[in-house]
């Protein structure tokens, strides 16, 4: 983890408020592993004053190319509005890479990557890592409609992956008509295989709940990357917690090893990647 700065290389407008921000910093790139994230100082700063907005914002690292790393974001509030105005050459405060990372699939396992909207970036990072290791994978990516297709950019930029990548829209305006879990299940039915699977997912909580449920019913291990309201990224503000399912629903043995302190897990240091069956997939409905 580094407390450093990065320089904006590109801030590409992909339509519908979705942007790809490309930042240059060698140290951050060197420590990236799929699933990790950075805290970006996005506010305007006048020397001697706090930035506005004040808190840094967390973003998954989508891709590393050389000493440049990419983050994908959608303009939803004041922080991302500031980001959208960033020009090439702008220096941005960066803390990271932070958090844990996805567990790589075991030899012989096929990775199933499920990404929804601006939750697609960690799946790009996984696809890059899996491809570099010649591992077997398939991706199912969903957005609400073709207007949001900019979220697919990390996969669109790799045409050679097309046979592995399945795109879906909720309104059917592009690719499969339905959500990503439906797209995955439809593909399972059309192309049955006995290969062991491991699921990796990132997207809205409602999608992650569906992923966890389906993976459990199929007895497939699944890891999810969660987004929570995060203040610091390094485990000191304790704001970004998610509920530990082992605490609330665990076995007697599980619970005997835990204290009340273990009920809420910090997404920044214990996550952002969790076993899909290990946490309660609920953000209180107030994320934005």
């Amino acid at each position: 983890m580094h407390e450093t700065v990065a320089t904006v290389v590109e801030n590409r407008d992909l339509g519908s408020g979705v942007h790809l921000l490309r930042l240059r910093n060698r140290e951050v790139c060197a420590e990236q592993r799929a699933g990790r994230f950075v805290m970006l100082g996005v506010g305007e700063t006048v020397e001697g004053n706090p930035p506005a907005p004040m808190l840094r914002r967390p973003f998954s690292i989508q891709r590393v190319e050389g000493d440049v790393f990419d983050v994908l974001y959608r303009v939803v509030g004041v922080g991302t509005t500031c980001m959208a105005a960033m020009k090439r050459g702008r220096v941005v405060e960066v803390l990271g890479p932070l958090g844990n990372a996805f567990t790589p699939p075991a030899p012989g396992e096929q990775a199933i990557l499920l990404g929804g909207g601006v939750g697609i970036p960690p799946m790009v990072a996984m696809a890059d890592a899996l491809s570099a290791n010649n591992a077997d994978w398939k991706a199912f990516l969903g957005v609400s409609s073709t207007a949001d297709a900019g979220c697919f950019v990390g996969f669109d930029d790799r045409p050679s992956w097309d046979s592995r990548v399945h795109r879906a829209t909720m309104d059917g305006s592009l690719g499969f008509h339905g959500h990503v879990v439906q797209a995955w299940l439809a593909d399972r039915e059309a192309n049955p295989s006995v290969t062991k699977k491991r699921v990796y997912a990132c997207g809205p909580m409602v999608m992650l709940r569906a992923v966890a449920k389906v993976a459990a019913s199929l007895n497939i291990p699944a890891e999810v990357s969660v987004e929570t309201m995060m203040g610091c990224g390094i485990g000191i503000c304790m704001g970004c917690v998610i509920e530990n399912k082992r605490f609330t629903e665990g076995s007697v043995e599980d619970r005997s090893t835990m204290s009340p302190y273990d009920r809420w897990l910090m997404a920044c240091t214990k996550g952002p990647v969790f076993d899909a069956q290990g946490i309660v997939l609920d953000d209180g409905g107030l994320l934005h």
């Binding site: 001697g48 907005p53 808190l55 309201m229 390094i234 000191i236 503000c237 304790m238 302190y261 107030l286």
Partner: protein, 319 residues
Amino acid sequence: MSTRWSDPIAPEDVDISVDVAGLVMKNPVSLASGTAGYGPELSHAMDMSTLGGFVTKGIAVTPWEGNAPPRIAETSAGMLNAIGLQNVGLRAFLEHKTPYLRDLRASGVRVIVNVIGKTVDEYHRVAKGLRDCDAIDALELNISCPNIKEGGIAFGTDCVAAGEVTAATVEGSDKPVWVKLSPNVSDISSMGLACEENGAAALSVINTLVGLSIDLESRRPRLSIGKGGLSGPAIKPVALRMTDEVSRACSIPVVGMGGIWTATDALEFMVCGASAVQIGTANFVNPRTAEQVVQGMRQWCAERGVAKISDLVGTLQRK
């Protein structure tokens, strides 16, 4: 100290050590409770040995769960939090957290343990449990906790309750006891005096201000439990006013905090009567804030020929 400055001196010639009720700190800057974990969390992002002091996350006699999320919400120049004092509890603190703190203390950083409780007895038991612990220098009482025996009224808003909890902790402890005052009162000086009369060694001024942030579209609070504690630069003027008032009303030292972002902010607190300062919310945004504030304070003093930083304490000029 006169209002005129002397000729500049070399930065290394400035004595930036301070004395808080006999506890000598190598510089005035500590990290505030609940904004720096138990120590190791921040050690990856800053050089902890540059600190004057470190105040731990609040410790209760048993582990606490804390509140459901969302626990934080950003506001203009600040943030609201309702973490709910999630903490590992006294036993796990002694077993797992003190080894790091012992090393930190050996590097010359004063270690202060923040203490929380729901009854007077719980504070007393934490104080007793920390007796003879060689990893720590002082206790700081968070009296903004709800007093369950008194129907959930915070100890920090009632002079009698604040005095009782102070006395019980002092009685149980072999270390100086600081009390962190709540700003959510009409007369903070009388709270400070109640703590002083009951044996407090110093007063930390201030804790967070109770606030509310809502989402208009859903007409719901942004925090799961509704209200939360406001911190950050937004509260600095309130904190300065209270530091000034408490330091004039009480004879024990005041440790000032509330929205400190820069060396200028920290020095303003000292001029208003703070013997030392703590940095909180700024750690979330820039984990190196404390380091930079220490450097900046030394530089400021050097440029103005202030040979001893503690000479600034309480020198606010009133016409």
